[in-house]
Symmetry: C2
Subunit: 531 residues, 2 copies
């Protein structure tokens, strides 16, 4: 018997087995699993009443709240596809994405209504806008508030057997430093299996309490939602990053797990009020979104008295692929352990990660060879929305190509050293721009740095550093190059340094290296010159 | 991207991520996951060399050892189907089963060779017999020992992408109290998803140590093997039930979990040497195979200092469906907790259990209404081997019909009260023969009892008890009926009692009630008479 694999089964299970448990804590509201499931079923009914048909896209612009969680299931109850959007995108970016996926209905937090108003005439397919919260503004297009829709709607639970597990359930847009955002299609099966496997990788306990510190529209945040529901855990919503609010939530809700980007973790461990709260319920903190450092891992473990390690995932892979727990059989002493727990990690159950060269040949897993990280797993997307060529390219040979360059050591730990397009190939050696940046950031005068390749007649490419100095600090090009030679192998050191006022960035804070590359050198021409 | 769901991925994962961990402890042998995977791959190579083709059946007759675990994966590496057989079956039963599945190759422990020799001329399809262990007997048909095959064979790991997840991977034969044994076809997908989901239900830790006290050819035993491999746990093999050996294993191997049938648990808690061993590593004991009692749950928890609850499963469902952990939100005090943990349990993640009446209408879940337990889950078999009519009957309406009569209470806990065919319908009320038997077993003179329906002109059916007295004990029919009235509602009490020397049983010790029914009354005739 094949029962369709769909995350709807997670909420059905929790509704039936844990009806009285608190499912969601969102501002002053608390909903049990019985209430959460009822609200999701009513959202399904409301969407059907609003004319939403199977396969149509329902977009969501909002901060973390019970409503986004309800949409995770309620949109699927209506057989539609959920498209959670990044609230940090600009108006033109949001407009592009909404048009690209052809969303017919938009659920939106009131603070984003003026933004949506600025471009809604560019969206011919969008026929309904539902205001998620707040007081309804008379002059606004949204005919009703979300909660009133729910009150009026019939409860509509789908017959699980009618779901096709290979149908798309969610579309997430990649933040796109290199091109227009692409819509990543995740199927019901992707999401179901990702949740089953990742929660084994993280050893998530039944009934655990998770603090959703990361926005649920983010790769680093959404994967958790489904397995927590399956295991009847408590979702505690964090709207914005406020250290004292986080400490307070941990104490009052008995939080067991949370995720943080390195910046957040650094702020938390150095916060003066850290020791004013009882944080003893914490069991695990995962650092994701960017590379961690062994120092940060140690600081977090010591500050919070629980385990801390890196996690790794991508929008295209549902997202989680690996985490850097230490393997007890390796018997690492503490300092080695921090080093290991700051790597990219080792794959979750039944995720396969390999590194390959430009010819797709597998490279040795010796901790030295650098190749592109490729993945085969149940979470790998169906493809990019309406982009068959990009899909075929990304999934060539039956493996998803991450675009990350990495090593894998003999113990199975992966370390991502750079984005493929940012790697610098000098005299046949791969140089990780991230490694150079990380080493040079130790210089006291440097606030921010980006290292890019520029063409060189002898070496093919050599590293160039763009540096933003700290306010009031001073340094010369020669001084910084000398500094780099004190901590890096010679061929990895920048040959030139340019001081800039700021670095160009995406809405999510990633440095736009492609802009820098085209500004400082037209790569294509340079390559031709060498050849 | 859809990667085929197959348990082979579990061993691949453990081989790559936990190569140095001890995977199997079997008598004096210890194998790491690297060695275990290598041996399974060589078994795959050996089977191919012996001419085994995709889809052919490879049978296994043996006690718990590393070799049965190797067959779980090695037979699949050869794209063949594994058929583990119950060693307690008689020669004619084994012969029937081997012919029914058309096994072409048999792996067999030396102690069963004479038995196999007695019927091997009746097995025209069986072309190869491999002796699993011991010294090779010159006059025997097995041309080589298992270990020598493995040494000589090439390592053959299948390309996972060539597996079809809906193909049958294993066939288990049901013990069959009512008909010829039926072959239950479990697919690669069944086994993969069952392992993922059941291990969440049991909250199995990565790297945990399981004592395989139950034979791995048994529903109660085999389901554990796959999820333990996936999580890099240690399989500790128990060959026969020896309490001191079990205590000793727990202490020396640091065992965390084991399963037991009620009889085994009773012997263990009452064993005089229990307190001579350090059993502090134990975390969980699951009672399966038959109904437990609250008293036994309490005794096991107190004796072993760990949690103990019932588990429930069927050959047709891969097997596990439910376990009776207490839900913390119910806040049960100890005595209520023992009662709850002795029920059949509540379903594992994404397993759906309902009770229905004879018209397949769902019954209320109020702890009182008794109906047939039906199940929809990822572990439900593909069907019975070469039995399309029986398959369609068992899976009618898209639900597997367990043949167990049960209640479900408002907290989601199922309690199986009887086998459907053994239930007694008296004056429109369902009487559980098991309930009557359990109540009357409290009488000091009764050693064994079977309660069956006999026809009655007024009530349709009434209960009749067949009783085996303890050696030297005496009791009269009137005395036992009086006793039953002291502990059971009147209509549930046997109207007649017959004293017998013994009760007819299957090879696995189940009472053959159908034999008793036909001996004491021809049901069909009786039913006609009433109608």
């Amino acid at each position: 018997m094949n029962v369709p694999l769909t995350p709807l089964r997670f909420l059905r299970h929790a509704e039936r087995q844990y009806p009285s448990r608190i499912a969601v804590v969102s501002k002053a509201k608390r909903f049990t699993y019985a209430q959460f499931a009822e609200r999701a079923a009513r959202l399904g009914g409301a969407l059907r009443q609003l004319g939403i048909k199977a396969g149509q896209r329902v977009a969501f612009i909002g901060i973390n709240s019970h409503r986004l969680l309800e949409a995770y299931y309620g949109v699927l109850e209506a057989k539609a596809i959920l498209v959670p959007l990044n609230i940090r995108l600009s108006g033109p970016e949001l407009s592009f994405v909404l048009n690209d996926c052809g969303a017919t209905l938009l659920l939106v937090d009131p603070q984003f209504l003026p933004l949506v108003d600025s471009f809604r005439r560019e969206l011919p397919l969008l026929h309904t806008i539902v205001q998620l919260d707040g007081a309804l503004s008379e002059d606004w297009v949204a005919p009703m508030l979300y909660d009133r829709y729910l009150e009026a709607a019939p409860s509509s639970q789908l017959d699980i057997m009618t779901v096709k597990e290979d149908d798309t359930a969610e579309i997430f847009y990649t933040s796109g430093t290199s091109a227009q955002p692409k819509g990543v299609m995740l199927t019901h099966r992707n999401i179901y299996l990702h949740a089953m496997e990742t929660s084994h990788g993280f050893s998530v306990r039944n009934g655990a309490v998770e603090l959703h510190t990361i926005p649920l529209f983010h790769a680093n945040g959404w994967g958790i939602a489904h397995f927590l529901t399956m295991l009847g855990g408590k979702h505690v919503m964090v709207e914005t990053f406020d250290p004292v609010a986080i400490f307070s939530f941990i104490e009052s809700e008995g939080v067991n797990y949370f995720n943080a980007v390195p910046f957040m973790a650094t702020v938390l461990v150095n916060h003066p009020r850290l020791r004013d709260f009882n944080l003893s319920s914490l069991e695990r903190i995962v650092i994701g979104g960017a590379a961690s450092s062994p120092t940060l891992i140690r600081e977090v473990e010591q500050a919070f008295g629980c385990t801390c390690f890196s996690g790794y995932g991508l929008t295209e892979t549902s997202p989680a692929l690996a985490a850097a727990q230490s393997k007890p059989e390796l018997g690492w002493p503490n300092e080695r352990r921090y080093l290991g727990q700051a790597t990219t990690g080792y794959p979750f159950p039944c995720v396969e990660l390999h590194i390959v060269d430009a010819d797709e040949t597998r490279l040795p897993e010796n901790g030295v060879a650098i190749g592109e990280l490729i993945v085969r797993s149940d979470g790998v997307m169906k493809g990019y929305w309406q982009q068959p060529e990009l899909t075929a390219e990304a999934l060539r040979g039956g493996w998803f190509h991450t675009g990350d360059m990495a090593t894998i050591d003999q113990d199975g730990y992966v370390t991502v050293v750079d984005r493929k397009k940012d790697i610098i190939i000098s005299g046949g050696e791969n140089i990780s721009s991230l490694e150079v940046e990380k080493a040079m950031l130790a210089h006291p005068a440097i606030l921010e740095i980006a290292v890019i390749p520029v063409s060189d007649a002898r070496w093919g490419e050599v590293p160039k550093a763009l540096v933003v100095l700290k306010p009031g600090a001073a340094a010369t090009e020669a001084e910084l190059i000398d500094f780099s030679r004190s901590c890096l192998t010679h061929y990895k050191c920048p040959k030139t340094v340019i001081f800039v006022e700021s670095l160009p960035k995406t809405g999510t804070g990633k440095v736009l290296k492609k802009n820098l590359r085209s500004q400082y050198e037209i790569k294509e021409t340079a390559t031709t010159a060498i050849a």
